[in-house]
């Protein structure tokens, strides 16, 4: 099931993702698979996740030949920091025993600031956590209140400082920009506070109002007005320029690191079509061609596991066209962009040839560069990567027809 030339992408190892679906309070913008820990749900999780690992290990790749051993493990959520270090240890132990891992996999963990205590930090370090992603979201009290977060700005600052002091290799701060009414000046203040704390990594997302969330209801009732797109675009550009000046280099639209070794080693696997195995409710897995995903809700997921069934909700087999499209869409989100030769070899598509006029226009507008080997988005281009992915064709105009005509013509 290996795609030809994946090694050229530089992400060989498999990634393992473990979804921890609890949050003590659900944020009004959140559309992840989350629930509150009450009602015995929190207690049901550990046996179920261990059960899933036990089920999965018999045939992790569902019939496909296993790819390379896993070299990253990421606990996301939800709020993985709601698990005690010894619970995490149990899960890690099961993973190491049952699945194919390298000796010391890179380990990432998401945590909410209010859970960051010296005791837990010590525990996480002991377990080998190298990347701690702190769900700060804002350093501004009004912003935190709007986002429905439980921590205060002071707690957030404190959490970053303590995590750094504890010697975690990479401390990352998550921030959300483009809150309603946010001005460039107020967003710059957030960035100032974040950088003054000197974490090695930052993730900056724009607020998006997802269907089905309380924010979506508020928007429908006119009680929430999203920042207009141009203003959002301005904030994205501000983020990139401001952070770059302070040594935070972007490697993806929303991700910044002070040095390459502080980048997430796990997330790029998603962007580069590396294989990954997802465990826990709603987690997605990918083997290079097939993607499948677990039941979204904790109850049904745990129940399937209890019955000895793999808790997969559905799967899809990506067509060559879909693989090509995903690689285009994801590649344009990264600073490295798309390596053209490899892309042509993998998908049989010469992106530049199929899009001469568009590439030239995007180049003129300062959104995309083509240095011969790679199509790379500029900083301004990263901010509109989705739009670029929409406008680039995967087939030259009329290429299909002329190819057919060519093959049947001489014989006739």
């Amino acid at each position: 099931m290996h795609l030809p030339g994946r090694s050229a992408l530089g992400v060989d190892g498999t990634g393992i993702y473990v979804h921890v679906p609890f949050c003590s309070k659900i944020c009004p913008y959140c559309d992840f698979a989350v629930t509150t820990p009450g009602g015995g749900r929190r207690r049901s999780y550990l046996p179920a996740i261990l059960g899933e690992i036990g089920l999965v290990c018999r045939d992790a790749w569902r019939g496909a030949p296993p790819p390379a051993p896993a070299d990253t493990i990421y606990f996301g959520g939800g709020t993985p920091s709601l698990l005690e270090p010894d619970e995490l240890e149990e899960i890690l132990g099961a993973l190491a025993r049952r699945l194919d891992l390298v000796a010391e996999p890179w380990l990432g963990l998401e945590a909410n600031p209010e859970d960051v205590t010296p005791r837990r930090l010590a525990g996480w370090r002991r377990l080998g956590v190298r990347f701690l992603s702190l769900g700060v979201q804002s350093f501004d009290e009004d912003g935190l209140a709007f986002l429905g977060r439980r921590h205060t700005a002071a707690e957030a600052r404190n959490a970053v400082a303590v995590a750094l002091a504890a010697g975690i290799e990479t401390v990352s701060v998550d921030l959300i920009c483009a809150l309603p009414g946010q001005s460039p000046a107020s967003w710059r203040r957030e960035l100032e506070i974040a950088t003054s704390l000197a974490p090695q990594h930052l993730s900056c997302y724009q607020l998006t109002v997802e269907p089905g969330t309380p924010f979506a209801v508020m928007r429908r009732r006119g009680r929430l007005r999203e920042l207009p797109e141009p203003a959002q675009g301005e904030l994205v550009l501000l983020t990139h320029t401001w952070l770059a000046e302070r040594g935070y280099q972007p490697y993806e639209v929303c991700s910044f690191a002070v040095a390459p070794e502080h980048r997430s080693r796990h997330n790029p696997k998603y962007w580069r079509h590396a294989p990954y195995l997802g465990l826990g409710p709603s987690a997605h897995s990918f083997d290079g061609q097939r993607r499948w995903w677990n039941l979204r809700q904790l109850g049904p997921w745990a129940e399937a596991v209890a019955r000895g069934r793999r808790p997969v909700e559905d799967e899809e087999l990506l067509t060559p066209m879909q693989l090509a499209l995903e690689e285009l869409m994801l590649g344009l989100r990264t600073v490295e962009g798309i390596e053209l030769d490899g892309y042509r070899r993998r998908h049989g598509v010469d992106l530049v040839a199929a899009n001469r006029a568009t590439c030239a226009a995007l180049g003129r507008d300062g959104l995309l560069t083509d240095d011969g080997g790679r199509l790379r988005p500029t900083t301004a281009g990263l901010a509109v990567a989705d739009a670029m992915a929409r406008s680039l064709d995967l087939e030259a105009d009329g290429a299909v027809e002329s190819a057919e005509a060519g093959s049947s013509g001489p014989r006739a």
Binding site: Y17, F32, G76, A178, Y205, Q206, T208, E229, P230, Q232, G233, V236, V253, C254, Y270, W271, Y276, G278, S282, A283, H284, S285, F286, R291, W293, E316, Q322, L325, E326, M329, L330, R333, A357, T358, A361, L362, D365, L367, L382, A383, V384, A385, D386, A387, A389, R390, S391
Partner: protein
């Protein structure tokens, strides 16, 4: 015959007609409790969802009155919206009386007055009913005063009711029996029956709803429809209970149905007179004016493959909607479609909604237009409702457009803003008079075209929802007609062309340019969107290159969702309509052409 009462329920929209009909039906045991649902006569899905009545509905009830006798009540629930006033007119023709409802919290509104006048035109006895007295905002005294001053009826004859809670129902039934006249007519005379409505039934064909004036209508009889001259054999007659109740005959005074092997509603004319072919009467009953379409729009399927389905769907709708007209049409931007005629914007909206819903079609509608009369230098006169058929301006000598008499009722404090709105809409001879309770009725002679564009919304907003609107078509009057083209990078988009008054051309063109500029996705180059009359540019906007929608977050391994969104957007791009060098997505047409409907 003395024990028959034929009446309809009329009122302004939403004053509770269908709810009152429910109570009357229930009180007369017309429906078993387990079969009952609110607004039971509103059977169309669309009626139920919107809570409005679109078609009149008849039902026959048996009422045991306080005098000990059992009366046969033929009730017709009518729609309140002005677009369907022809339905009210038809219903009135078959009745001797009407219940005129007034919402106690709203008072007399524009269609209350309009419907009362209609009832008086047909010489009906009117019983006013003050409804919704249970509402906290109900003001019975005010309603009484308005009934007296604005309608000229005796306020102390008004029955107080709450259709919702079932209060006053017995009083209403007694008033029907005591105050409305019984029908008259000689049962022995030759047959004379009025067709006041028709339904299409996929098994039985057309079901005629008739009011027998004299003689009797029987199964087995050969009848002639006097207006069309066609003859049919009557297969079945009966009363319309909630289900058909088959009878041997419908005698003079009766209201009921007849089935006579008629294929489509197009084969008959509402208002026609049915007579016995072997013993015909000399003169038909006074006829009824045909409901003529006054608003026109082209309907295109989003995907060209659906063109045929659209045609079939329109054929089917037309079986039961005699007012809907349609002819083949085509646009270079949108492909093949149909030019359709409607009674008004609500009718248009109902038709398109049914096409979408019942036939699962995705549609684009061109801007609604009225029908202009254009006189050419050659002396020839054309009727033009489709901008693409507008002749070369150099050949046009003059043009006329339909005018309406608009009437708006509102609290006095809005008179200024409404007058201003009328002036803006080229209203002439705007006058007003004071009604009871500090309200005014304003009338204005206004081009119908002005109502088609954003009028309801504006009226609602300037009167903060207190203004109510009614109109009737008056006549054709001279106009300065121009055709406005919308150009994208210099190429005209035929589907966006419009016929408008010269004074409105610039404003309208700008509106369209701006909406289009908002919805055409930015491309790699600058796009000019212009409005033009002939070669003269009268409005312009530009779309700056490339749409800067910010890149959305991408979290975790769920790439599938993000890819699907992208696939959908790219699919949309494929379906764009090419205009010159620019591709315009369907969604842009939809957004630009979105009509506002009351």
């Amino acid at each position: 015959m003395h024990q028959i009462r034929n009446f309809c329920i009329i009122a302004h929209i939403d004053h509770g007609k269908s709810t009152l009909a429910d109570r009357l039906i229930q009180r007369c045991g017309g429906v078993a409790d387990r079969d009952f649902r609110d607004q039971i006569l509103d059977s169309m899905e669309l009626e139920r969802e919107r809570g409005i009545t679109i078609k009149s509905n008849s039902v026959t009830l048996d009422y045991q009155a306080q005098d000990g006798k059992t009366y046969q009540l033929n009730l017709i629930d009518t729609p309140g919206h002005v677009d369907f006033s022809h339905e009210v007119r038809r219903s009135l023709m078959s009745c001797e009386g009407a219940l005129l409802l007034v919402d106690a919290s709203q008072g007399v509104e524009a269609q209350t007055v309009a419907n009362l006048y209609l009832a008086l035109e047909y010489d009906l006895e009117v019983v006013p009913v003050i409804n919704k007295i249970d509402l906290p905002a109900a003001d019975i005294e005010r309603a009484r005063e308005e009934i007296s001053e604005d309608l000229g009826l005796d306020p102390y004859e008004a029955v107080l009711a709450s259709a919702k809670l079932g209060q006053g129902i017995d009083e209403i039934l007694e008033a029907i029996v005591q105050r409305l006249p019984a029908p008259e007519g000689d049962p022995e005379a030759p047959l004379q029956a009025l067709i006041f409505d028709a339904q299409y039934d996929s098994y039985r064909g057309v079901v005629l709803l008739c009011r027998v004036r004299q003689g009797a209508l029987r199964a087995g009889q050969t009848v002639r429809l006097m207006h069309t001259g066609k003859e049919y054999d009557v297969e079945e007659v009966g009363l319309l209970r909630l289900k058909k109740d088959k009878r041997n005959e419908l005698a003079a005074g009766a209201v009921g149905y007849a089935i006579a092997g008629i294929k489509t509603v197009r084969d008959i004319a509402i208002g026609d007179t049915v007579t016995d072919a072997s013993q015909p009467v000399d003169t038909p009953l006074p006829g009824y004016k045909e409901a003529k379409p006054v608003v026109f729009s082209s309907i295109y399927p989003v995907s060209t493959e659906e063109y045929e389905d659209l045609g079939k769907a329109l054929d089917k709708l037309a079986l039961n909607d005699a007012a809907l007209t349609y002819d083949k049409d085509s646009s270079s931007a949108l492909g093949f479609g149909y030019r359709c005629g409607f009674l008004g914007l609500l009718h248009l909206d109902v038709v398109q909604e049914r096409l979408r819903r019942e036939y699962d079609l995705s549609l684009i509608l061109s801007a609604p237009s009225v029908r202009y009369r254009v006189r050419l230098s050659s002396g020839e006169e054309l009727k033009v409702d489709n901008p693409s058929l507008f002749p070369d301006p150099s050949e046009v000598e003059s043009a006329t457009e339909p005018y309406i008499k608009a009437s708006v009722m509102m609290p006095e404090r809005y008179i200024g803003v409404v007058m201003e709105l009328c002036r803006e809409r080229r209203g002439l001879n705007t006058t007003f008079h004071y009604l009871a309770q500090g309200r005014v009725e304003l009338t204005s002679e206004m081009p119908l075209a002005e109502v088609l564009f954003d009028f309801y919304d504006r009226l609602k907003s300037v009167t903060q929802g207190y203004g109510s609107f009614d109109y009737e078509v008056l006549d054709y009057r001279p106009t300065e007609l121009v055709k406005v083209d919308i150009l994208v990078n210099g190429d005209p988009v035929d589907a966006l062309a419009q016929l408008v008054h010269r004074d409105k051309a610039r404003q309208r063109a700008l509106h369209y340019c701006e909406r289009l500029a908002e919805t055409i996705p930015k491309q790699q180059f600058k796009i000019a969107v212009q409005g033009a009359i002939g070669g003269t540019i009268i409005a312009r906007t530009t779309i700056n290159p490339f749409r800067k929608d910010v890149t959305a977050r991408c979290y975790g391994g769920d790439i599938t969702r993000k890819r699907k969104l992208l696939e959908k957007q790219r699919e949309g791009k494929k379906r764009m309509k090419r205009v010159g060098s620019i591709e315009i997505p369907q969604s842009a047409f939809v957004a630009v052409l979105k009509t506002d409907v009351d």
